[in-house]
């Protein structure tokens, strides 16, 4: 039997799982619930049991499995130690070692979920063919995953790629979830786009379909596509903040490509019209010709990247 790798993407509600061949083709995908009771102590045993059940179902032996990769929602260092994951009830411990023990010694690699998803997009998604990449997830917040020469940039305490918290505006009265004021996330996340829309609508009485009540990021970009001039103003403001933020990122890591994913990215390539010109206005010339692409793996990026995490550390 040809060898396989398991990829696990641990979320706050469900655990996405899959197994792959060494070329990155997914052979099967499934989900189990994330049981957070008792400080999340059931989570890793549940994952191990599910992997063992799948191995048994498919007639896989331990030697058929190169390893198991897992992305977790919190800071993870280069050794696979997580530094607290509040929404799972987890404290500091080695996810890598604990899951390996539960799996009877199958090798495990662990990483932060956003970083691991970036690796997935590099391997088989919107960043395929590149090895210096920044993945930007515009969802409830703004997440980032930085890949340098094909490897995740983890950072000293697992906080590498926290680009949603780059300070981008000095005049923000509201606090970000992190406690600071004026973080990129406050303007470029789905929530951020809605805030910008509400502020714009309050500024005057200019007609707009957004006055119907739905100011979600989807409604804003739908209105943009329909030519709504208020929505276009909101999109320009979003692009100004995000372009400026990504320019700062590029001055630091000088990537080949930005891969944009998350809910806001469902608006599609229309986004780039608002981001790229602003980016070019603020970035250092050496990073001006970076590419922008949409993420293509959606919610599967995490399991792909988790599998790749294992593959990178094992010569097959």
């Amino acid at each position: 039997m040809s060898k396989v790798i398991f990829g696990v993407d641990l979320g706050g509600t469900t655990v996405k799982m899959g197994y792959f061949d060494t070329e990155g083709n997914v052979k099967e995908k499934w989900e189990i619930p994330t049981r957070k009771e008792n400080n999340g102590s059931r989570i890793l045993p549940d994952i191990a049991a599910s992997i063992k059940a799948k191995m048994s179902e498919m007639g896989m032996e331990k030697d058929d499995v190169i390893g198991v990769g897992i992305g977790v929602p919190g800071p993870v260092d280069a050794k696979g130690v997580i530094y607290k994951a509040a929404n799972l009830g987890w404290d500091v411990f080695s996810v890598k070692e604990e899951l390996a023990v539960l799996l009877g010694g199958i090798p495990v690699e662990a990483g932060n979920d956003a970083n691991v998803a970036a690796l997935g997009e590099m391997w088989r998604g919107g960043g395929c063919g590149y090895k210096n990449l920044v993945a930007v997830t515009l969802g409830t917040g703004v997440g980032g995953g930085i890949i340098v020469e094909g490897k995740i940039l983890t950072g000293a305490t697992g906080a590498g790629g926290e680009i949603g918290h780059i300070h981008i505006a000095d005049d923000e009265p509201d606090a970000c979830g992190c406690g600071n004021h004026g973080c990129l996330e406050q303007y470029a996340s789905a929530t951020g786009v809605s805030r910008l829309a509400r502020r714009r609508l309050e500024a005057d009485d200019k007609p707009s379909v957004l006055r119907n009540g739905d100011v979600s990021a989807k409604a804003v970009f739908d209105a943009v596509k329909a030519g709504d001039s208020v929505a276009i103003e909101v999109a320009k403001e979003f692009g100004r903040y995000l372009g400026k933020g990504l320019a700062a990122v590029a001055c630091v890591v000088n990537p080949e490509i930005f891969v944009i994913g998350g809910g806001v990215s469902k608006a599609g390539e229309v986004l780039f019209g608002y981001i790229v010109d602003e980016y070019k206005k603020y970035v250092f010339r050496g990073s001006r010709d970076v590419r922008f692409a949409l993420a293509t793996l959606g919610n599967d990026a995490g399991i792909y990247g988790a599998a790749k995490l294992v593959l990178d550390l094992n010569i097959v």
Copy 2:
């Protein structure tokens, strides 16, 4: 004879050179002029001749030399190719290969000078003991060198660590050397500190020793140490910009330590009082406890880092 490594720091006026043992102890240092005539075509032959002369003088054979590292003032990619160095007259070519040929096949590694200096500070300077480090050079401009897990972050086109060109202010009327407006370099370099001082002096008639005519960065920080309240206002403004810029850098790469060098850093630890609080105000909590240290190798950082560049790629 124990093996040695040559380190070369190519500047616009002089070439600094030295050779080292494998522990990073410098055995001898010297300089030769940088001859920029004929589009800088004499520079590498001059360097090769100087190395060969030193080898001959010291009775070194080719096998005694592990390699030669060189830092050059321009973007250099991971393969040792320089993408133009305007002030040397250089176009695109492989510094690594060309110098290796001139040296009869001694292995050569090449890097950008700021990045190489960062590696030097990590090896034997202010960042000794750390492997995730950002070196910040506050000189005529603001340079940066980023080390991730002990390796230089080069970037896709050699423009990694160009932190002086992070956009930090929206209201800047003057253009930066790069053509943009509001780059970190316009406020936090030696030149930037002078600009801030001149602007502050023009704002009103408040007495200050800086009104004597010398508004160099040195004069500003000397005045700060003497308790001059106008100079202290200037230092606070400098710290606000630099703290904010370094916070953005930390949100991207999450280093263990910032090592501050360059002319402005000669003011000493007094700088940190102005930088660190502002940094903490703007940075993501995961990067709040980063260390700040002064660079200690001064103008020798480049030759140390150039030697280390060779050592990292050769098992001794």
